[in-house]
Amino acid sequence: MNSIETKDVHLYYGDFHALKGISMAMKKNQVTAFIGPSGCGKSTYLRCFNRMNDLIDGVRIEGEILIDEVDINNKNILVDDLRKHVGMVFQKPNPFPKSIFENVAYGLRVNGTKDKTLIEERVEKSLRQAALWEEVKDKLKKSAFELSGGQQQRLCIARALAIEPSVLLMDEPASALDPISTAKIEELIYELKENYTIVIVTHNMQQAGRVSDSTAFFYLGELVEYAKTKTLFTSPKDQRTQNYITGRFG
């Protein structure tokens, strides 16, 4: 079953044609990785799925994006509701200047959850899912800024999980982290796919190889090749993919 499906998506930043007719489908409870050199449009494409591009002036999107078979660019879709359904983890850890607890509870609170016990349960559950509970359970009231970079990023994952989205978008979630933290995040992604559809943008091809089920290679705003990760890395069909994964450019 497809969780996300796009049909001929074009995106323009003013006059710049950033995404050129991308059609692809991402399966439920799978990890899909987007790879490609900088500026190839993979992050832009990812940000279409929770309409983060709405924040940028002069962006125009054509084509159809379906998430769980709903057209997310439909006028009747409230963008806030969409984002509750499609969580996102950013490149750099970006906790709020609040306590650890409040960071995770934020999504629930802005969605109007008042029930204290429910919030506490959900915070604990999310922190456990993000493999952070054991490290922070005694200092939930402390500022999130006191955590290390890797812990902060797992906190941001917990924060995204707390509102129980069905899709989790990750925009280079480990690029600002050290190898040990990266390994932890990757392990986490592997565990999370049981319950979530995960789309991850990465610069790191080894990472894509380790965590993803399918991989899409983007180049200059085009989807060049999309296949099972193993297939893409061992026998790419396109010469550009071949060049990129063997390190000839990028």
Binding site: D81, R83, F96, I163
Partner: protein
């Protein structure tokens, strides 16, 4: 050779920069020193109006009075010597004009040549008298003793509720109404300016599109460039009558008028400082909030405002600082009555307005003059505290990043 000149030039520039820094610092120190030297002089002076003498009968055990007691005596609020530590006897007041009740013009003399002697006789004759007359009529062999007035004490100066710096026989230098008036008007100003300024800066930082922002920001900053006397004039012509009509007051020159004018004057500072603070909120943090399904408004009040809280506090404190020191506009619209404020709809008098209004008529080196400098010291300390708290808040802000 070229190199030599190059080095020489460098050194000259360095020297000029060092000298400018030193001169500036010294000037500041000099001003502060001058202010305090003049201001603290007030505490070494007796509050008797200059060139005057206050005398009592030799039998009277009272040797010293405070300025306040003396004023109460001459206002006939204190009528018995018992109340000021003397014997149980009613106080008899004597001013120089009263001499005609005792002696004829001939006895005093055509050119008042016998006046000192006559005064001496009156005081000797009346055991319960207190006499107040110019020092020049104090005879050498005067029958009676002069009353010493206690020097003005710090607590009397700061805690006194009456500001009559030129009244006779004893000046009243209580600055409490002026301090409270200043704070009162500033408080009102900040209550008006902070919500308005905050709303405007949120609008500019988060909601307005670029074109509107580029148009509005310079206009708001233009407000800061309008001379304060123009604000005062505007207040006098527009706001004062408006308040008068709106609240049905006998006069519209009130603390409220001052607060409104000062609030408008503090707006540009508050808006630009807090808007800058809000714009430093990392985009990533706002995106994180939006990505969690928060609306724009939720993001503003749950993320942007808390993140820029110290910047907003700095803006508020700077705004208060602007309001406290402002002179001209306040002088023009607040009515300048030196009473302790208890409502926004009554006239008040602020420290800067007092200094500006009275310094011209205070003889240099006199008590009144020194009292005004002491007021300047108080104002200086107030603004110093404000500046220190700005430093404190912004240091905290840096530490939080």
């Amino acid at each position: 050779m070229k190199r030599y000149f190059h080095n020489f030039g460098e050194r000259v520039i360095e020297g000029v920069l060092t000298i400018s820094g030193t001169v500036t610092s010294l000037t500041v120190l000099l001003i502060v020193f001058f202010l305090f030297k003049e201001g603290l002089g007030i505490f070494n002076q007796s509050p008797v109006a200059e060139g005057s003498a206050i005398v009592v009968n030799n039998q009277n055990p009272v040797k010293e009075l405070s300025a306040k007691e003396l004023k109460e005596i001459f206002d006939q609020n204190i009528t018995n010597w018992k109340q000021v530590g003397g014997q149980d006897a009613p106080i008899k007041l004597f001013r120089i004009d009263d001499i005609t009740d005792y002696y004829t013009e001939e006895q005093i003399g055509k050119d008042f040549e016998y006046l000192p002697q006559r005064l001496s006789e009156v005081v000797a004759k009346e055991p319960t008298i207190v006499a107040f007359f110019p020092e020049q009529y104090l005879a050498k062999d005067f029958q009676g003793h002069r009353i010493n007035l206690e020097n003005i004490s710090v607590s009397e100066f700061l805690g006194g509720t009456e500001w009559y710096p030129t009244i006779q026989p004893a000046v009243q230098m209580g600055v409490l109404p002026l301090i409270l008036g200043t704070l009162w008007v500033s408080l009102g100003a900040i209550l008006i300016a902070l919500p308005l300024g905050l709303a405007t800066s949120i609008y500019l930082a988060e909601i307005a599109d670029k074109r509107v922002r580029n148009l509005l920001k310079p206009v708001i900053e233009l407000l800061a460039g309008i001379p304060s006397v123009v604000y005062g004039f505007f207040g006098l012509v527009v706001i004062v009558p408006l308040i008068q009509d709106l609240f049905g007051l006998p006069v519209g020159e009130t603390a409220l008028a001052g607060s409104i004018i000062l609030g408008i004057m503090a707006l540009p500072t508050i808006i630009s400082v807090s808007e800058d603070a809000m714009r430093t909120t990392p985009r990533a943090m706002k995106e994180a909030s939006l990505a969690l399904g928060a609306t724009k408004w939720q993001t503003i009040y749950k993320v942007v405002v808390p993140y820029s809280m110290s910047g907003i506090s700095t803006a508020a404190i700077l705004g208060i600082g602007r309001a406290i020191g402002e002179t001209m506009a306040v002088l023009m619209v607040t009515g300048n009555a030196s009473v302790i404020p208890h409502t926004f709809l009554a006239p008040v008098r602020t420290i800067p307005a007092t200094i500006a209004a009275e310094l011209g008529e205070a003889p240099q080196g006199g008590m009144h003059y020194q009292a005004l400098f002491a007021l300047g010291c108080i104002l200086f300390l107030m603004t110093l505290i404000i500046n220190l708290s700005v430093d404190f808040v912004s240091a905290k802000r840096k530490a939080n990043r």
